[in-house]
Symmetry: C2
Subunit: 399 residues, 2 copies
């Protein structure tokens, strides 16, 4: 951390304040700190929280997600945070500096919980993660989740399993106290990161149809079934090219693409969002953790006949200095021989393999194809047989 946190917050606040000004040149009227209370489709106008009213021809809903709350007494105490918006990050940074914090508790062991445990530890803050289940990041195979847990422990992050949170109270030695079914622990900051759901309050008011995921239904042009109403990003669904279903995977890269699609179509151009394959990743301390496509459960739900294998190999050529173990799991359909999904964990090379396999899923390649892919071999970057080849061939033998 080469910068003083306070400076950063000041800079960032200035940046936000300048947003409307920066957009004015482009002819776009950007309003910050302004909530849309109602979309009046009959009148063709939106009513704002400041009492103002704006006419419109087209509405784009980019309402994002809302953090889930455990629903326990004291969850709204000062020092208890969720992390979703940019301003959440600013508030957390200000709190960390002003208190100051020696101890942090994170409730939840998903992406946010993992990334924030690293952030807290990098600031020298004693950190514990409280989790409902027994292993972190349950999107991954338990063998990989165990590796993530080992990485947390290696960096002295506490991990408390099968937790039910009961309350947040005022602390004695620290500002706050988390009460759980496993007793109590005090901390100067508590981060609630138990999940998010699509923010669809406005969409509901407008009577827009929501999908099974709870997110807004859209088509390949990001149009809702209602004329003149678009939705993009975390609040809406995306077509999953592997499962053939509409899913809600809230990630910034997807939101970015969907925004472009809506914008071009609204502007009279033609652009189609061709869907996703479920690629995702996070970093926790020295570990890359990534996945793409379907896991076995999702594959079965989609009607496939999954087989899978998990192989530990080398991220780069065996004898090269700096070589690290890389775990790769592949899931395929034994009826069609088609690749369905992949997961990887390692100190290097996990994300790069998952990106190759995401492209393979995008193209609908078979497991055989994955086993033969021509990759840019050189010993500093992989063995002459890449983990992708080895794992794909191993799984192929099971079919």
């Amino acid at each position: 951390m080469p910068y003083y946190i306070g400076d950063v917050i000041k800079e960032e606040k200035k940046l936000i304040a300048r947003t409307p000004e920066r957009f004015r040149e482009t002819g776009v009227d950007v309003r910050i700190d302004t909530r849309v209370e109602e979309v009046d489709e009959k009148a063709g106008q939106v009513r704002l929280s400041d009492g103002g009213v704006l006419p419109y021809d087209v509405v784009v809903l980019g309402t994002g997600t809302t953090p889930l709350m455990p629903g326990i007494p004291g969850e709204d105490r000062e020092g208890v945070f969720t992390l979703k918006k940019f301003t959440d990050a600013l508030r957390i940074k200000a709190w960390l500096r002003e208190v100051p914090c020696r101890k942090a508790i994170i409730v939840g062991a998903g992406f946010i919980g993992m990334e924030m445990s690293e952030a807290f530890r990098n600031l020298g803050i004693e950190t514990s993660v409280y989790h409902r289940g027994t292993l972190p990041v349950n999107r991954w195979d338990p063998e990989f989740s165990q590796v993530v847990l080992d990485e947390l422990r290696r960096h002295e992050v506490g991990f408390v399993t099968e937790t039910e949170t009961k309350a947040v109270e005022a602390g004695k030695d620290h500002r706050l106290r988390l009460v759980t079914n496993h007793g109590e622990e005090e901390a100067d900051i508590i981060l609630l990161a138990v999940g998010i759901r699509p923010e669809v309050t406005l969409a509901r008011q407008m009577g827009l149809p929501l999908g099974k995921t709870g997110a807004i239904q859209v088509n390949f042009s990001q149009q809702t079934p209602r004329g003149g109403v678009y939705a993009v990003g975390d609040c809406c669904e995306s077509f999953h090219r592997v499962s053939g279903r509409w899913v809600n995977i809230p990630l910034g890269d997807i939101a970015n693409k969907q925004g472009r699609v809506a914008g071009v179509n609204i502007g009279g151009g033609a652009l189609t969002f061709p869907g996703i394959v479920g690629a995702q990743s996070f970093k926790v301390f020295d570990l890359e953790v990534a996945a793409t496509g379907l896991d076995e459960r999702e594959a079965i739900e989609a009607g496939f006949h999954p087989v899978s294998t998990l192989v530990w190999g080398n991220a780069i050529a065996g004898p090269m200095p700096g070589n690290r173990k890389l775990g790769l799991k592949l899931i395929a359909d034994r009826a069609m021989g088609k690749l369905l999904g992949a997961q990887a964990v390692g100190e290097m090379g996990a994300v790069s393999r998952i990106n190759v396999l995401s492209c393979a899923l995008w193209a609908g390649l078979s497991l055989d194809d994955a086993g033969w892919l021509d990759l840019a071999y050189a010993p500093p970057f992989s063995g002459s047989r890449d983990p992708i080849h080895i794992t794909a061939q191993a799984l192929r033998r099971q079919i």
Copy 2:
């Protein structure tokens, strides 16, 4: 270098000597230091350099490549090396230790020249590269070759352009002297790395048809047109899935796959080698350099209508610590919109992007597809718009 070079050589020599023994258990008779002088197809036997004769049912030619020699007086002097075989590396290591070497000259600026310049510099040896052209690694765009040259200079490797070598003589201050059109320079070791060609002496003797590349013609089962004769690896051709032509790209990963194909088919199984897309990479000091598919010249030769763009972006999300510049060039066919090739250079993330694009080429994806690919986004691994997306979209606008 944590080990004493002499120990390593001893260990490696032992390893080689043990090879026949290790294979004996598997029922395979491996002979080392034994050249096949002739394949007598009528008699169904091979004649060995030690006078022995071996009967066979099937012959597999895996004769690899032979280094090209400049053909100048003194090129066979002690201390002048080529680097192709494992034993070449052992001889070089022994020479470096025994002389010892303070100064090295490399003739040629391809993969081997680049990798060896790093190896020499890491040993503290003053190093110069003499090159026929003006920029190293001419497989890459001149803008990228310039980056490679800058990297050499940053690590104090001399680079002499438009060189014609004239002779190798005995030196005064050092063992050897290289005479060129630009004058003379002395060194303790000279590495000739001006290129390689398929080693097809035996194939010629047998009258096997060679392709335009000078390498042995094979089919998708690695069979030559002659019954019972297979060829694999650097000495034979491979089908290039993008150009639709048979090419000779001598790389270990391709050889490895082709060996497996020949072995399974000879053993009565069924395995097909589905070809390559021309993926390749090397590391020179802190730089990753990678390419895949066709460059513009190859694309035109294959009858495509190439357009290309080269974009400098960020290997990971802009504000992340450790971020590095990444250059990515894409080549596409403006008639079909199909992706044809890619090149990348950077301190991180170049090979991983080229591997994704190699998969895209494998699957015959369009430039549009490349612009939409769902990759595993997280700020430590990429921006929310990956360089692949940005470059593909930039090139798409040209079509």
